[in-house]
Amino acid sequence: MKETLLDILCCPLDKAELELEVIREDDDEILEGRLVCTECGEVYPIEDGIPNLLPPDMREEATA
């Protein structure tokens, strides 16, 4: 995901803004990282360039 995507994303639980933690990136996008809710602290993973913003109870796939 490009960093500008952060302008339109929010925590699905409380609609608060998210803080980006980059683990791996290339010239134009974030490949691995975490999005952390600035309100409730819930962590959403970014894997292979795709942020997973499903609420925790809907994430059936392993997030490793």
Binding site: C10, P12, K15, P55
Partner: protein
């Protein structure tokens, strides 16, 4: 491994007449800004909007395989449940070809493709929560394009939009042997 993968079945809805009707209707009316395709699936509609309009396109889907395909097509992908992971007033246009086939509970089976087709008993299972959150993410002058079928009861969908404070009007349609497909243009009702 999921059952669908073992059987080598498709796990993402492939573009069909409904996708093409929706893409054409959206392209004719979108002139830029930021666009979200909900339930982006194979990425076909999002890709056409990105190629044929100046809009910035984002696709979201609950299905991880659909997200991967969309990203491979060069479209920004977000795994989310409908519009719930997007901030208020984010989009100039939202496009959605929802799962709409009315499906009795005893015929529901649990795999990603079924999820992409079935609209529950009345065909409106997914349309209902979509319409109730749409007004939040749509900018004041924003417009949404929703594909509905006569099998899903177009008037009932217009009524659901009205209950959510939105106005809906048919802007395009196509007839097929067992159904008529309609593209509804949805706006904030006070416009």
């Amino acid at each position: 491994m999921k059952l669908a993968e073992q059987r080598g079945m498709a796990t993402v809805y492939e573009p069909a007449e409904d996708s093409r009707l929706l893409a054409t209707a959206a392209i004719d009316r979108i002139d830029g800004g930021r666009v979200l395709e909900v339930g982006v699936g194979s990425g076909y509609v999002a890709d056409r909007i990105a190629a044929e309009t100046p809009a910035d396109v984002v696709g979201c889907d609950i299905n991880p395989e659909a997200c991967r395909r969309t990203r491979s097509a060069g479209i920004e992908a977000v795994r989310s449940d409908l519009t719930h992971a997007f901030l208020a007033d984010s989009f100039d246009a939202v496009v959605f070809n929802p799962p709409y086939l009315p499906t009795p509970p005893e015929e529901e089976w649990d795999d990603p493709l079924e999820y992409a087709l079935s609209g529950g008993e009345d065909g409106r299972r997914v349309i209902r929560p979509f319409l109730s959150d749409l007004g939040r993410v749509l900018r004041p002058s924003g417009r949404a394009y929703l594909l509905v079928s006569t099998l899903t009861d177009v008037d009932a969908v217009v009524e659901l939009a009205d209950e959510a404070g939105l106005g809906a009007e048919a802007v395009d349609e196509a007839s097929f042997p067992f159904e008529r497909l309609v593209v509804l243009e949805i706006t904030h009702a006070n416009r």
